[in-house]
């Protein structure tokens, strides 16, 4: 595909992501931190986020499956997840973590399970989208272009 087209679709894709609330301004901040000394910063951070979240989600599933549910531990995990997601700007994941925490406080196992499902869902969604985004970016870079951060900085 032509470079312009690639760039345009990249912009549209990111704009859509912001519009639909998957990402917030924190994500664009990450791009600001990427420079010559740190060229792969965003990808690194996001990969770390994926690893972290998967681990946390597994821990959460296991914790909720226990006969005696340790809500404090669950709360701690969700807190971590919330922190990570807000650090990279994964807004929907963060929001579902917030409601998860509320139900955790209320110690409602059923609702917590539902929330976990939702968190999982949101996480998978954002993972797919970000992977697609990075694919596009790679293609652009391969075609000799660069991502113009200013244009889609919100």
């Amino acid at each position: 595909m032509e470079l312009n087209q690639l760039q345009r679709s990249f912009l549209e894709y990111t704009a859509a992501l912001f519009r639909e609330g998957f990402l917030d301004s924190q994500f664009s901040q990450l791009y600001q931190l990427q420079d010559e000394s740190n060229p792969e910063f965003v990808v690194e951070v996001v990969s770390l986020f994926f690893e972290d979240s998967e681990r946390l989600i597994n821990d959460l599933s296991r914790a909720l499956d226990q006969t005696i549910v340790d809500f404090r531990k669950i709360d701690a995990h969700v807190h971590q997840l919330k922190g990570s997601s807000s650090s990279i700007g994964a807004q929907r994941v963060k929001n579902s973590c917030v409601s998860f925490r509320n139900f955790c406080e209320a110690q409602n196992i059923e609702e917590c399970s539902k929330c976990l499902q939702q968190v999982k869902q949101e996480y998978l969604l954002i993972k797919n989208k970000l992977e697609a985004l990075f694919q596009l970016e790679k293609q652009i870079v391969a075609a000799g272009g660069a991502i113009n951060m200013v244009e889609w900085m919100l």
Binding site: Q29, Q32, L33, D35, F41, V45, L48, H79
Partner: protein, 740 residues
């Protein structure tokens, strides 16, 4: 002879009989024919006739009968066989129909009879309904009367009008001869005739309240018929004839306190009035039930109306009372103001008058000092000078206090030598102390700046006052004065929890502690110390001029300097410690430069490059840690990222300038780190700035951060610009002015 088909009548015709029969048959036939016609005519006219079939039958029957009789007319004379045949046919038909009709009637007649029964029943019902209608109408009338009466009664809030109206309206509605109201007297032992219909101001008949008849009336809320000869009913001169029936009903006199929220007032301890109603005599009228009901309802309404009136009276009285009090208060206030003004004038005048000679003494003594004097003379003159200065100070005190009172005093800020101030105070006090054989020590902390900005004179005044008190109230022992720059933990006074001073770049808090081994103070008296003119207790020593304005003025000065002053003592004989903290300014910016590399780009306040700035980031969330690290690296810092509190405390060295602690951990880790860092780096110069990063900056968090000695709080999410300004502010000012 020809065969004749004629039929002969049976017997020989008798002329007269025949004629009569002939005529009768004719008329019968006529009648028989006209009856159905009439029937048809009238039934057609009427709307309802359920038995048409019967009618037809009956009609047929009658018509046939008529036909029979008509045909009979021809049989009186010789008639042909045809006629006979027709006659026979008619008769047969008639027989059939009449039998059928007879049979039919067996069914019909009971029905018709029952109709009659029903009619009778309905008539009875109608009569009954009429009667009930009459009753309802009467009731409605009564209700209307009651409403009208109630409206009249309630349309006024004046007690007398209420009662008068009640009587008048009742009298009119029920057409009474007399209507009277007996009210209980103040003693409650008698009933007094208060209102009647026909006398305007009845002479006070009284009746004892304990009559059995009255008790009977009071015990029920119904209207009770009483005998016309009872004392309450003997209001009119007895007529010649039968007096009308009399009814009495009780009227509860309710007070506001009688109404409980959830239950209706118990009528056991209440006072009642008695309403007596008399029907016109010689009228043979009787009290009807609905009339009695009316009376009962009215009595209740009157009670309510009276209580409303009473409430209104009370509230009017209360209002009047309040107005009076207001007037009195106003007057008192004005008098007080006048007194204060007079006092102030007096003080001003007196001060002026006192100052003039004082100035003369001071001026002349100073001049005298300049001249040639012998050592003894010099000593004497110096003492005179010192005493006059002290006296002048006292006079100034008094004037100051009045100025302090109206808040018009302002501090004279200026740069002065702090160390010198202490030395001078010491020199002033030393003579007096050595006379009493008290030792005075002064210790100034090393970080006490030499120069400071503040009101030198007043600070000296406070210091002298406090130290002077210490000297005054100590008979032996020692007095120690210590001064140092207050750190945050020492700034909090448990007695003044709202006092939360934050040292900043331009100001510092000076803490001075004066400890003596003197008489001590009873802890109960401590609060009174700072009130004007309050002496703790009559002291028996000679120098017991401790009461007065001194401490009160000191407190005010210290407060003006945005500080606190308080005294601690463990008790009588255990000495006391006076502590005060005042806010002083740094003369110019501090010269110490903590960071050798703070490039200030001219014309642009914010340094944009913190290259090489060593910082530590603590965050137990790996993603967050990486992001913050990336952020700081982007700004050029040399970042060391750690994930736990222990690690953080371990790796921080004096080379690190800032430590960022992520405080979204729901635990006290962050605060613990700060405390431990403070411990690790006791000297201020070595310690890095400690900044908390949190997603939540409510008051609690801010307080906790200040408590553990953090230098700032930053709200997440942090943008590059925000971090940049945080760093530059830290490096420039040493403190984050406001959390961002």
């Amino acid at each position: 002879m020809e065969a004749c088909n004629c039929i002969e009548p049976q017997w020989p015709a008798d002329e007269l009989l025949m004629k009569y029969q002939y005529i009768s048959d004719f008329f019968i036939a006529l009648a028989y024919f006209s009856i159905p016609l009439e029937l048809i005519y009238f039934v057609k006219k009427s709307a309802v006739f359920p038995y048409r079939w019967v009618l037809v039958q009956f009609g047929a029957f009658i018509v046939l009968c008529g036909a029979t009789h008509l045909i009979n007319l021809w049989t009186f004379t010789t008639h042909s066989r045809t006629v006979a045949v027709v006659m026979t046919t008619a008769k047969i038909l008639t027989a059939v129909v009449s039998c059928a009709t007879a049979l039919m009637l067996v069914h019909i007649i009971p029905d018709l009879l029952s109709v009659k029964t029903r009619e009778l029943f309905l008539k009875n019902k109608a009569a009954e309904l009429d009667r009930e209608m009459g009753l309802i109408r009467t009731q409605e009338e009564t209700g209307r009367h009651v409403r009208m009466l109630t409206h009249e009664i309630r349309s006024t809030l004046d007690r007398h009008t209420i009662l008068k109206t009640t009587l008048v309206e009742l009298g009119r509605t029920l057409s009474l001869e007399e209507c009277a109201l007996w009210m209980p007297t103040r003693t409650g032992l008698e009933l007094q005739l208060s209102y009647t219909l026909h006398h305007q101001n009845p002479v006070g008949f009284t009746v004892p309240i304990q009559l059995p008849m009255i008790n009977q009336v009071f015990s029920t809320n119904r209207a009770v018929k009483i005998s016309p000869s009872s004392p309450v009913a003997r209001l009119r001169p007895s007529g010649k004839y039968m007096p009308g029936e009399v009814v009495a009903v009780r009227v509860p006199l309710l007070h506001l306190s009688n109404f409980q929220i959830n239950d209706w007032p118990e009528l056991s301890t209440k006072r009642y009035a008695l309403m007596v109603l008399m029907l016109p005599s010689d009228s043979a009228r009787q009290w009807h039930v609905h009339e009695l009901e009316l009376v009962e309802v009215v009595a209740d309404q009157v009670a309510v109306a009276l209580s409303h009136a009473a409430i209104l009276e009370e509230s009017m009285r209360a209002r009047d009372l309040l107005m009076q009090q207001n007037v009195a208060l106003d007057l008192a206030r004005r008098e007080a103001e006048t007194a204060v003004r007079a006092r102030n004038d007096f003080l001003a005048v007196m001060n002026h008058e006192m100052r003039t000679p004082m100035h003369a003494i001071i001026a002349l003594s100073s001049l005298l000092q300049e001249t040639e004097l012998t050592p003894e003379q010099r000593l004497m003159v110096e003492t005179i000078l010192k005493s006059s200065n002290l006296l002048a100070a006292l006079i100034n005190d008094v004037l100051d206090l009045s100025k302090l009172e109206d808040g018009s005093l302002q501090l004279d800020m200026g740069t002065f030598n702090l160390h010198a101030l202490f030395r001078e105070a010491l020199n002033l006090i030393k003579p007096i102390a050595s006379v009493k054989k008290l030792s005075i020590t002064l210790s100034l902390s090393s970080d006490l700046p030499e120069y400071a900005i503040g009101d030198e004179k007043r600070l000296m005044q406070v210091l002298l006052n406090v130290v002077g008190n210490a000297v005054k109230f100590s008979k032996e022992g020692s007095i120690s004065i210590s001064a140092f720059v207050a750190k945050s933990e020492y700034l909090r006074d448990p007695r003044a929890p709202e006092f939360f001073p934050i040292p900043s770049d331009n100001h510092f808090y000076l803490r001075i502690q004066v400890k003596d081994t003197g008489l001590g103070i009873n802890p109960q008296d401590i609060p009174k110390l700072f009130t004007k003119f309050a002496q703790s207790q009559p002291l028996t020593t000679k120098n017991s001029s401790g009461g007065g304005l001194g401490l009160a003025i000191c407190k005010r000065f210290v407060n003006l300097m945005e500080g606190q002053i308080w005294i601690e003592s463990e008790g009588l004989g255990k000495g006391s410690t006076a502590i005060f903290i005042v806010k002083l300014g740094f003369p110019g910016h501090s010269n110490e430069s903590r960071l050798p590399f703070v490039p200030k780009v001219p014309g642009n306040h914010m340094p944009t490059n913190f290259s090489g700035l060593k910082v530590v980031v603590m965050d137990d969330n790996s993603v967050g840690r990486m992001v913050t690290k990336g952020l700081l690296m982007h700004l050029g810092c040399d970042v060391l990222a750690v994930g736990s509190a222990d690690e953080c405390v371990r790796v921080v060295t004096p080379e690190h300038k800032v430590v960022f602690l992520d405080a979204s951990v729901p635990g006290a880790d962050t605060y613990e780190v700060a405390v431990r860092l403070h411990e690790k780096f006791s000297k201020r110069l070595d310690r890095p700035f400690i900044v908390a990063l949190t997603g939540n900056t409510d008051r609690m968090v801010k307080e906790n951060c200040s408590r553990v000695g953090m230098d700032g709080v930053v709200l997440k999410p942090i943008s590059v610009d925000k971090m940049r300004s945080v760093l530059s502010e830290l490096l420039e000012h040493g403190f984050l002015v406001e959390s961002q």
